[in-house]
C-alpha cells in the first residue's frame, strides 16, 4: 500500500514537472501561463457543465487505455492505438451502412463486433510480424497509424461519402438515429455500461487469471515465463490483438455515440492520449479509471479553449506531450521493467 502511495506521488510529481515545462513554453510563445492553466482547469472541471464533457471524453479513452495496458503489460510497445481506433471506427461504420434498415437490436451489436474486429485485425499484422519475424513493433504500429489515417480519408471521401456534405469536411453518411447509442453529449447507459464492463473484465483478466499473471511476467521476466513452459509469442500476440480490439471498440462507440458519423481525421490524438493514461496509471486498470478523467478533462478543455477563451487548443497537445516526455522517468516505480527492457537493448542507456 505504501509502495503504491509512493508511486502515485512520483507520478504526480512528474506531471507537475511537465506542467512547469508547459508554463515555460506558453510564456515563451507570448501567452500568460497562469491564464492558460486557469482556463484549462475551468474548461476541464471547474465550470458547471465541465464534468459532463470531461466524462464524455474519458469513457472512450478509458476503453482504449485498457487495451494499451494489456499490450504494454505483455511487454510489447503497441503504440498503434490510434490506427486501431480508426480501423474500428471504419469497420463499425461499414457495418451500420451495410445493415441499414434492420432493427437496432441487431445492427448495434454487429457494429460493435465489427469495430472490435477492425481494431483487432489492425493490431494483428504488426503483432504477427513482431513475434514471427522480429520486425520492430514500434515502427510497424506507427506506420499503421499513418496508413489507417489515409484509409480513413479514402473511405470518407469515396465509398462512404455523404453526398449532401458541404465538401469542407469529408465525412460519411450520418448514422441513423435509431442506431445511435447516445446523443451528442456522449453519455448514455449503453456507453457507461460498456466502459464499466470493459474495466471490470480487464481487471479480472489481469489480476485474477493465469493469462494476466503470465503476460505481466512476460513483460518483466521473459526467461522465467519460457522456463515455465508458456509460449511467449502467443501471449504477446494475444496482448496485441486484445489491445487492438479494445481500441476498435472505442472507435465504434465514437461513431455510434457522440460523433454520429465517420469524419476524416477525427480525434487525431486519441491513441496517444490513451497511451499516456496507461503510463500515468502505472499500467493498472483501476488507476486508469481515475487518470482517464484527468485526460478526459484536458480533451474537453481543448474544445473549450479556442471557442470560449480564444486560446489555441494546441496548448493541450503540448501538455500531453510534456507529460509523455517525463512520465516514464525511472523514479516512477512499476514502470522500471519498461525502462530496463529498452535500455538493455540500446546498450544500457
Amino acid at each position: 500500500m505504501e509502495g503504491k502511495l509512493i508511486a502515485v506521488g512520483r507520478a504526480l510529481a512528474f506531471v507537475l514537472l511537465a506542467l512547469g515545462l508547459c508554463g515555460v513554453i506558453f510564456e515563451f510563445a507570448g501567452y500568460s501561463a497562469l491564464e492558460m492553466f486557469e482556463s484549462i482547469a475551468d474548461g476541464a472541471f471547474l465550470n458547471p457543465n465541465a464534468w459532463q464533457g470531461s466524462l464524455r471524453w474519458a469513457l472512450p479513452l478509458f476503453i482504449t487505455a485498457c487495451g494499451v495496458i494489456i499490450s504494454f503489460r505483455s511487454g510489447y510497445f503497441n503504440v498503434g492505438a490510434q490506427g486501431q481506433f480508426y480501423m474500428g471506427a471504419i469497420a463499425a461504420t461499414f457495418v451500420v451502412d451495410f445493415m441499414n434498415g434492420l432493427p437496432a437490436a441487431i445492427v448495434v451489436p454487429f457494429s460493435f463486433v465489427g469495430g472490435i474486429a477492425g481494431g483487432a485485425v489492425w493490431a494483428l499484422w504488426p503483432g504477427y510480424l513482431r513475434v514471427r519475424s522480429g520486425a520492430d513493433e514500434v515502427i510497424t504500429t506507427l506506420m499503421g497509424n499513418f496508413i489507417s489515417g489515409l484509409i480513413l480519408i479514402y473511405v470518407t471521401g469515396g465509398i462512404l461519402k455523404d453526398p449532401s456534405g458541404t465538401g469542407q469536411v469529408m465525412a460519411s453518411r450520418p448514422v441513423a438515429i435509431a442506431y445511435r447509442i447516445s446523443s451528442e453529449t456522449g453519455l448514455s447507459p449503453a456507453i457507461v455500461g460498456t466502459a464499466v464492463l470493459v474495466g471490470v473484465l480487464m481487471w479480472v483478466l489481469i489480476n485474477r487469471t493465469a493469462f494476466g499473471v503470465l503476460s505481466s511476467l512476460a513483460g518483466r521476466n521473459p526467461t522465467m515465463v519460457v522456463w515455465q513452459g508458456a509460449r511467449m509469442s502467443r501471449l504477446g500476440l494475444a496482448g496485441f490483438v486484445l489491445g487492438g480490439a479494445l481500441a476498435g471498440l472505442a472507435g465504434a462507440i465514437e461513431v455510434l455515440g457522440p460523433n454520429g458519423r465517420l469524419v476524416s481525421g477525427f480525434l487525431p490524438t486519441h491513441g496517444f492520449t490513451a497511451i499516456l493514461i496507461a503510463l500515468v496509471a502505472g499500467l493498472s486498470i483501476s488507476g486508469a479509471a481515475i487518470v482517464s478523467l484527468f485526460f478526459g478533462g484536458l480533451a474537453a478543455a481543448s474544445l473549450y479553449l479556442p471557442v470560449l477563451v480564444g486560446l489555441p487548443a494546441a496548448a493541450i497537445d503540448i501538455i500531453n506531450a510534456a507529460i509523455a516526455l517525463f512520465i516514464t522517468a525511472r523514479a516512477a516505480p512499476g514502470l522500471g521493467w519498461l525502462i530496463g527492457r529498452r535500455s538493455r537493448a540500446a546498450g544500457g542507456a
Partner: protein, 297 residues
C-alpha cells in the same frame, strides 16, 4: 528519368539528414523516436525565423538552436531522469507538433500555412532539370560520407560506438558515455534542423502544420533497416524516397484510376516492409529487446 531523380532527391534529402541524426543516436545507444518532433521544429523555426527577420541565416540559426535545445532536453530526460527513450521520444515529437502549432497561432492567430518569401539557395538553371535542387541536396552526400568517416575512422567515432554498445568498456578507458550521448544527440539536432529546413525551404518554401508526415519515423526505420551504418541507412532512406517519388509519379500517371490516398500510403508500406526484411535478416528487434533470444516457436 531526370525528373524522377529530381523528385527522389527532393523527397529524400530531408529524410537522409534526419536518418543521419538517427544513426548518430543509434550509435550512442539511444532509440531516437523524437526525430519527427525535431524535424517539425526545424521546419517551423526556419520558416518563422526567415519570415520574421527576413534573413535566411537567422531562420536557420534559430532552427538549429531550438533543435539542439530540444535534443539536450531529450538527453536530460532519458539520461538523467532515466525515462524510457521510446515514450520520451514520442513525447518530444508531440511537443514539436504542438509547439509549432502554438507558435504559428501565437504569431498569426490561426492555424494557417505560412509562405516564406525566399527559399534555400538553388543550383540555378545552368544545371538543367537539376537546377531546382537546393544546396543542401548537394551537401547531402558529403554529410553522409563525413559521418561515415567520423563514426568509422576517428577516435571519437569509436568512443561513441563503445558508449552505445558497451558503456562499461567505454568508462574503463576514461570515456564518459553520458557526455558522448549528449554530443551525439546535439549533433543530431543540427542535422534534424537542416533536414527540416530543407523540407520547408528546399522546394516548397512553406510551413504547414504536420508537414513532416511521419518522415522522422521513416528516418528512424531507415536506421534500423541500414543496421546503424551511415551509408547503408542513407541508402535505405533513399529507397523509401524512391517509393515515395514513385507514388507521386503514379498519382500523375493514373491518379484517375487508383485512389490518391492509397498511393500516398506507399512510403509507409515500404517502411513496414523494410523493417520486416531487416527483422528477417538480422533478427531486427532481436537486438532491440530481451525477447529476441527467447522466441519459442
Amino acid at each position: 528519368m531526370e525528373e524522377f531523380v529530381v523528385a527522389t532527391l527532393r523527397y529524400g534529402t530531408p529524410l537522409v539528414y534526419v536518418t543521419m541524426a538517427g544513426v548518430l543516436a543509434q550509435r550512442a545507444g539511444v532509440w531516437h523516436l523524437g526525430l519527427e518532433g525535431l524535424m517539425i521544429i526545424g521546419c517551423c523555426a526556419s520558416v518563422l525565423g526567415l519570415v520574421q527577420s527576413g534573413s535566411l541565416l537567422v531562420g536557420l540559426g534559430i532552427a538549429v538552436a531550438l533543435c539542439v535545445a530540444a535534443s539536450a532536453l531529450l538527453w536530460f530526460v532519458v539520461e538523467k531522469l532515466g525515462a524510457n527513450p521510446i515514450i520520451a521520444g514520442l513525447g518530444l515529437t508531440g511537443l514539436g507538433l504542438g509547439g509549432s502549432d502554438l507558435a504559428v497561432q501565437a504569431i498569426y492567430g490561426s492555424q494557417a500555412t505560412i509562405n516564406a518569401p525566399i527559399g534555400l539557395p538553388r543550383l540555378g538553371h545552368q544545371f538543367g532539370n537539376f537546377g531546382v535542387l537546393s544546396v543542401l541536396v548537394v551537401l547531402m552526400p558529403f554529410v553522409v560520407f563525413g559521418l561515415w568517416v567520423l563514426l568509422r575512422r576517428t577516435r571519437f567515432g569509436l568512443q561513441l560506438a563503445a558508449s552505445g554498445e558497451h558503456p562499461f568498456a567505454a568508462r574503463s578507458v576514461g570515456v564518459n558515455p553520458s557526455r558522448m550521448r549528449l554530443i551525439a544527440l546535439c549533433l543530431g539536432g543540427v542535422l534534424c534542423a537542416l533536414g527540416g529546413a530543407e523540407l520547408a525551404l528546399g522546394s516548397l518554401t512553406i510551413f504547414a502544420y504536420g508537414m513532416t508526415a511521419g518522415r522522422g519515423f521513416m528516418g528512424f526505420s531507415a536506421v534500423i533497416f541500414g543496421g546503424g551504418h551511415p551509408v547503408a541507412s542513407a541508402a535505405a532512406a533513399l529507397f523509401f524516397s524512391i517509393v515515395g517519388a514513385m507514388g507521386i509519379r503514379a498519382q500523375l500517371l493514373f491518379g484517375d484510376r487508383v485512389p490518391n490516398d492509397l498511393l500516398l500510403a506507399l512510403p509507409y508500406i515500404a517502411t513496414v516492409i523494410g523493417v520486416w526484411i531487416s527483422g528477417r535478416l538480422r533478427g531486427g528487434a532481436k537486438a532491440a529487446s530481451s525477447f529476441g533470444e527467447l522466441r519459442d516457436y
